[in-house]
Each structure stands twice: as C-alpha cells, then as structure tokens.
C-alpha cells in the first residue's frame, strides 16, 4: 500500500514504546489487527498519541494514518491531544453516583480543577467515567499512570485522599474479597467454588482444586460428545442475549476452516461485574473453558477480548495464559494429545459498544468498534471474514461443570428453560453488595434477602443493566430466569440487580442512563447516533420542567424515538437504548406532576 504521511516524526520514547510492543507480539496474519495493542503501548508510555507516534505506528502496521486516527479517536482510553501522564477516572454511573461517586467527583474537582483540565506539562488530570465494573465496592475509581511500565490501578471503595495518593504514585491497597464475593468459601457453589479458596496465580493450586479435569474429559469424549453435552445442558449465553450455546457450537462445526474462537470479556454493561470477579479470582478456569470450546468447535486460535478498564483481571489472565503455555495446557500439543489451541489476550480501550459481538470483531481487526449488519452471523462470517464462535466469560466457564457432571445433570439445576447456576451482580442500596451464585429461579426477593436486604425504603430496582429495565417493589416475586423476567415485562440481561432507595431521584438515574447511551453510541447509524442525543435532551427538558409543548407531547415523542431506535438501529445498543427509560416511565409516575401548559 502506497501511504502518505505528514512530516511529523516520533520521539525516541514513542519509537521505543512502539518497537517494544511489536517485538513482544508474536505477529500472526495481517498487521493491522495489532493497531490496538500498538496504540495501547503509545498511550501507556506517553499518556497520549501524537502525530509522530501515529505515523510511526502506521508505517509499521501498514495502515493509512487517517484510518488509524479514526480508530484512536473512537476509544475513550486513547487521547489524541497532549495530556498529563496520570489520569484518574471516577465512576459517576448509576451504581456509584448515589453511593459516594458524586462526592468523590466534587473532591477531585476541588483538588485538581475541572474534569479534563491539564496539558502535558501537568502531572494529573481526572475524568468522569461510565461504569467501571466495580459496583459492589462503590464508589469506584481507576488510576491510569503512563510510564515504563505503565501502571493501571483500580481503587474501590475510593476515598478522595487515598485516590490522590494513588495518583501520586502510591500502590493501591488490595481489595477485600469478602466485599466482592460475600459467599466465598461457602459449600455448594459451582462457578464461585474456587474464588478466594486458591491462589489465582498458581496453576498447581488450580490443578489441585480440580482444574483441567474437564479439559481431560473433553479430550476423552471427543468434540461431538462435548457439543452434545452442551446441547443437553441447555446452556444459553450469559452475556445478555441468551442464545443457546450448543446450537452456536453445532452450527460452527459445519462451517469452513479456519474458524476462530472469541471469548467476550468486554464486560461493560452498567452494574455488571461478575465476569471481572471470575477472571480476577479463577482465571485458569476461563483458559480451560476456552480450550474446551476451541477443541469442540474446531478452532485452533482463540482471542480473549477483555475490557481495557480491568487491570487486575488482565494481569491475572496474562499470567494464567503464560503458565498454561509453560506447562503444555496451551499451544501445539495440548495435554500431549495432538490438539492445537492458542490464546491471544487483547485489551479493549474504553468502548461499551465493543461488547457487541461484531463490533468486538472489528475492534480485534484494528478497526473502529462499529457493529456489522447481521445477517451474515458470526458463525458464518466473523473475525477476519471467517466463521467465528463467540461466547461470554460466564457462558464459557459453565462448560466446566457441564462436562464434569454431564449435560443432563446440569440441566436439572435451575428451571426447565433457564438451566444451571447463575451469577447475579447485586449492587446499589443493599446491605451486602457483591456477586452471588444461585440456581436460576431464585426470586428477586430471595436474592435481595441473601444480600442482607435493601438499605432504606425500596423505590425501584434496575434489572439487567442500562439496557434492561426497572421493576417496582411490588414485583419482588419475579423468578430470576430468562422466561420469568420476560413474563414480567423485564429482562435478565447480564443479571444486574440494582435497588434504589427512596432518597434517589429517579429522573437523575434516567438522565444518567440517557447520557450513557449518547456517549457510547458508535455513531454509525442515524437512529442511534442522533436518537440518543434527542432522548437525552428530551429527558433533560422533562426533568427541568421545560417541555416543548405539553408533557404529553414530549412523552409521545420519546416513545416514537424509542420505537425508531428499536426498529431501525443496526445493533443491540440502539435497540435497547430506550428500554430502561421507557420501563421506568411506564411503571413510576416520574413526569406526571410536571406542568402541562405550553411554554
């Protein structure tokens, strides 16, 4: 490709960051797919991406600079203007904002000035952030410090002074696991059984706790039997869409080679943190499960795409992958049995949309995280245009108990249509927030009781995340299953359960959700790109009692907007961008007291 570059040259440090990254990569296939890792390397070392650095990266990867800039400028974690080397990201999303997040933002503003202030000559800047996936320990913050090596640390619960100390270079304290997994160590757990019980950095500890037994069994069974067990187990995807995993695997088996496997670890749905806890505290289980999935579906290469804001999970998975290669659990000859499976870990860079499967594939290919139109579906045309199997972290990890107990035994757990154990992300106004494991079918009331009950007087519960919906205190007997929540006009989504007490102004919650979708829309299709802007404007007008025309007119317009986004957007983000807002307006008298007259 004949590329044109501006005269800008990279500095010695920028060149070192790029060359170091390229040298550490074992390049495979086309070079453009390494754009995100290289941009991470520049951002991590310098704190922002300059023209010269981008030129150097583009020469190395043979990417046109305009396209590479379009990619860098898509992701919130990449900066294309001079920035201070240290950036503090404070979560002000629905899970944190009513639990100290706003106060923390105010403290940062007092100490560091307005959000986003500061240039390359300054030391620290701060930003408001969408959900950081640390909701059980709200308020949450993430400190990203550029340098060699770069250092990313999360802090939750975060106090202002501690946060500033971490930003100044101190190590963040290790979080208490009991705050994240109150059930840790209890008998009868399946998915969480090793969490907190073994050293998550030790392969031997994992083996001693039953690790790799499922992989061994899978290889004995052969791929056909493995797929059969997953079908018998009636496992469905845990990422939100609830697609039958066995069907997906079976479909992929008859697709042409090469095929790719992807584990979607881009957990970014506000209020969701279950995958993070699994990856931080039982990382080997995910590597084992991916290897089984690769074996069963005939994929020799797996990509583990983890959200960029998960530093501890990333470090633990990197370690687990390294140990597995050292000991022959990954590579050309897994378990000495002639099976080939490689895993490459890739970091996202701050884009909720990349949790959408086809946006994730574009991101892996070094492109903007814009969803593709479906059909064709990934099992036909996926990563690099090849058939691709993509599953969420929790879905993958469920394959281990399926193989150990057998698909039929697994299917006996939970309900007829929602089988197996399930992780729930409980946060907000409850006594003991955290990840909880229960069989599908536990009611909302029972789950909240297990978490110590609601603190204060319950007003509303957000179920399924920002793309889910609200339910009322009268709906506590909803069984937490896919069919049960659907029958109640709600959705289980990624199993977010976030109660709000009656001190919370629901209008503020809805505005934050609208802001989230406006910020996270990729911008590709008109209904979502402009619709999310109009939705936020409309909620602002309603919340501040300044409707255009009457409140009824505005609510009618909001409904039409929601329908167009749901009907005409390309992907699930646009399809669900109005669902939580519409569910709240349908169930709570939020805007009915507002004045009715025309302005």
């Amino acid at each position: 490709m004949d590329l044109h570059f501006t005269a800008d040259e990279a500095t010695a440090e920028e060149r070192a960051a790029i060359e170091g990254c390229l040298a550490a990569l074992s390049m495979h296939g086309n070079r453009r797919q390494y754009l995100l890792p290289v941009l991470h390397a520049i951002q991590g070392r310098i704190g922002w991406i300059s023209r010269g650095a981008l030129n150097h990266a583009c020469r190395a990867l043979e990417v046109p600079p305009a396209e590479a800039f379009g990619v860098a400028d898509f992701y919130a974690m990449f900066q294309t203007r001079p920035q201070p080397p240290v950036a503090v990201h404070v979560c002000d999303d629905v899970g944190c904002r009513f639990k100290g997040g706003e106060a923390l933002c105010a403290e940062m503003e007092r100490a560091l000035g307005p959000a986003g202030a500061g240039g390359a000559a300054d030391r620290i800047t701060w930003h408001r952030s969408p959900c950081l996936g640390l909701c059980e320990r709200a308020p949450a913050a993430l400190v990203i410090s550029a340098g060699d090596p770069p250092r990313d640390q999360d802090l939750a619960p975060a106090a202002g002074e501690d946060l500033l100390r971490v930003a100044a270079g101190q190590a963040a304290p290790v979080a208490d696991l009991a705050l994240s997994v109150p059930q840790a160590g209890q008998a009868g757990l399946t998915l969480l059984r090793r969490v907190g019980q073994i050293d998550p950095t030790s392969l031997d500890a994992y083996r001693a706790a039953g690790g790799f037994l499922a992989l061994r069994r899978a290889i004995e069974m052969g791929p056909d039997r493995v797929v059969r067990e997953v079908i018998d187990a009636k496992l469905v995807g845990r990422g939100g869409a609830a697609f039958p995993t066995g069907q997906k695997w079976l479909g992929a088996r008859s697709a042409p080679l090469p095929r790719y496997l992807i584990c979607n670890a881009d957990e970014s749905e506000p209020g969701t943190f279950k995958d993070r806890v699994l990856m931080e505290h039982d990382p080997f289980s995910l590597i084992e499960a991916m290897t089984i999935a690769g074996f069963a579906t005939g994929c020799e290469r797996g990509y583990l795409y983890i959200r960029g804001e998960y530093p501890l999970a990333t470090a633990r998975l990197e370690n687990a992958i390294r140990r597995c290669y050292e000991r022959g659990y990954l590579g050309a000859n897994v378990l000495g049995d002639g099976v080939r499976f490689d895993i490459e870990l890739r970091r996202g860079a701050g884009a909720y949309i990349c949790g959408e499967e086809t946006a994730l594939m574009n991101s892996l290919e070094g492109r903007r995280g814009e969803p593709r139109n479906k059909p064709p579906f990934p099992t036909q045309v996926g990563l690099f245009g090849q058939p691709t199997v993509i599953n969420n972290v929790e879905t993958m990890v469920n394959v281990l108990p399926i193989l150990l107990a057998g698909g039929k035994a697994y299917a006996a757990i939970g309900t007829e249509r929602s089988t197996g154990p399930k992780l729930f992300c409980v946060s907000g106004h409850v006594e003991r927030p955290g990840v909880y494991e229960f069989p599908f079918g536990i009611t909302l009331r029972e789950l909240l009781a297990a978490a110590g009950g609601v603190t204060g007087r319950l007003q509303a519960i957000l179920l399924g995340g920002a793309a889910g919906g609200f339910v009322t205190p009268e709906q506590l007997d909803i069984p937490l299953t896919f069919e049960g929540t659907r029958a109640a006009g709600a959705s289980l989504g990624s199993a977010v359960v976030m109660p709000f007490d009656d001190t919370v102004d629901l209008r503020q919650v809805l505005r934050r959700i609208a802001q989230f979708f406006r910020d996270e829309s990729c911008g590709q299709c008109v209904p979502c790109r402009v619709g999310t802007v109009r939705q936020e404007e409309l909620l602002h007008r309603l919340a501040t009692d300044q409707p255009f025309g009457s409140v009824e007119q505005e609510l009618g317009l909001l409904k039409e907007l929601g329908q167009a986004m749901r009907d005409a957007s390309i992907c699930g983000l646009g399809h669900t961008a109005s669902s939580a807002i519409e569910s709240a307006l349908g169930r709570f008298p939020i805007f009915q007291d507002a004045r009715q007259e025309t302005r």
């Binding site: 046109p64 400028d73 109009r534 957007s569």
Partner: protein
Amino acid sequence: MTGESAPDLKIPVPRGPVPVAPPPRPRNTVELTIDGRSVAVPEGATLLEAARQLGIDTPTLCYLENLTPVNVCRICVVEVENSRTLVPACSRKVEPGMVVKTDSERVRLSRRMVLELLASSVDVSTAPQFQDYMARYGATPERFGPPAPPAAAGERDAARPGHHHAPHGADAATVHQPVKVDNDLYVRDYSKCIVCYKCVEACGTDAQNTFAIAVAGRGFDARISTEFDVPLTDSACVYCGNCIGVCPTGALMFKSEHDMRQAGTWDETRQTATDTICAYCGVGCTLTVHVQDEKIVKVTSPLDHDVTHGHLCIKGRFGWEFVNQRE
C-alpha cells in the same frame, strides 16, 4: 432435540486448514412477496433491487450503485415478516418466501424519524432529494426544538470520545460549524454532513485507494476527518474529487459552486450539461460538463458509465479552469 432424531455429530477434528471448494455461483431465481405482490429476482439480489423491479420507490441516502452498501442511514428500512426489527433494504439479500412490507406504519415511523433526526441536526438545504422525502413522510424536525448555534471552528474535531457537555434544554444539538476551505478545488461543509460514509468509501477501496479521509470520533461526534484534522493539503488527498461525486448532501462541493452559491449567482435553471470524452489520456472517461453563462462551473461523470462508474481523476474533474480564461 431427542436422541433418535439427533443429527450425526461425527465430524472429524480439524487439525489444520484444509482446502475449501469455492462456493457454487447459482443463478437461481428467488420468489418473494413485497407489499402483497409476488416478485422473482435472481438469487443474491437485495430487497431494494426486488422492490425496484416492482416499481416501488424506496428512499435511500447512503446507498449508491457504485459503492458497497454500508446500510447506516437506515432510511431504506422495510418490514420483513418474522423479523424482530426492521431491515435495511439496500443490503439485505432476498430469501425465498420472504414477506416484505415497504410502507407499513412501522416503516413510515422509522423513515420519518430518520429524516427528522437528520434535518434537526444537519443543514439539508442542498440535499436534492431530502425535501421530497420530508414531504412524503410528513417529517417535522422542529418538534425537537430550535437548532443550537454553530460550533466554533475545530470544536467538533476536539470532542473527546465518551464525553459531552450536558444539554441545557433550550435547543437541539446540531453539527453546524464553519466551512473548511483549505484548497482551491473543493470545500468541505460538514454542517451538511450526514455521515453516510460514501466519501470514505470512494476515497478508499471502492474507487480511489487513497485513504485520505476516514470516520473519526464517536456517537454524535462521529465525523469525516483526515488524520488529526490536518488540512487536505497535508493529507494523502490526490484531488480526484470522487468524494464530491458521491456526496448526497452537498457537504463536499466544487469551490466554484460554493463560491457562486455564496455570491448568490448559482442557478441550475440556467445551466446546461453536455457529455464529452476527456482528452487528457487514452482511458476515454465520459465527462459531463456543467455550464452556466458560457462558463464551466463543474464536471461530473455518469454513474452508469462503464469506464468511470462516476469516478474521475484530478485532470478530468478539475482540469478545465483554463477553458474559462478568455485571453
């Protein structure tokens, strides 16, 4: 799935890439129903093509015959029986037995909303078909409020992904901003840009393979940009003008046309369009020369021309200024 009727799962474990036969190229006919009328089209045709065969006029903005469909504007959406959402006619392939509605209330609502969202945020005054579409679907973009004032030069280019200023309630956000004039041949007025991706496609693999521009930013701040918003003169641009040729809204415009419009002298009723063959080289591109008051004001090429498919190079597109010199 019961044990007896289950499919045979015995498929050999793949150990490496195996040669795959190229898929057959069937020329079968697919029958489907559109708006209650049945139609037969070749396999691989799109719903848009099938609807056109029945004489149904489907509105399009980001679609063009000579570019790969990107299905981003969503104005061509239609209702397909058993599909949860509407589907884009421009890219969705026909399937046997499909039952399609192109003018249902659901379809009309989404099309109207797409027009309102665009017209409330973008200057569509020079988009030829837009006003017709607005009338056809009864679009009233004013219901989103008066348009917000234009951004300062460079302000939209500096937007930070994932962050924006909270709305204040009085008006509707727009993409209005000053025109970018950084060369003598064409201007970029991104107040008129609906981000249809056509210019990016024409600059890239669909025509020119120059890659001077791409989509940057995210969400409502998504925009067409060179790297770091450098002027075109510092970019990879070769001034073929193929981006102007595909732009559906006049955001990309010959400087000659832009200047005449500014001066109030642009008048298409006084213009003639004459086809000729470009004399610069031996390729034989058809040029359509647009003349007003005995002066060439712009040059295009017919989309359906076998040689150009509407695309030209800098010489054919812009190399006519000397003709206007009378001395």
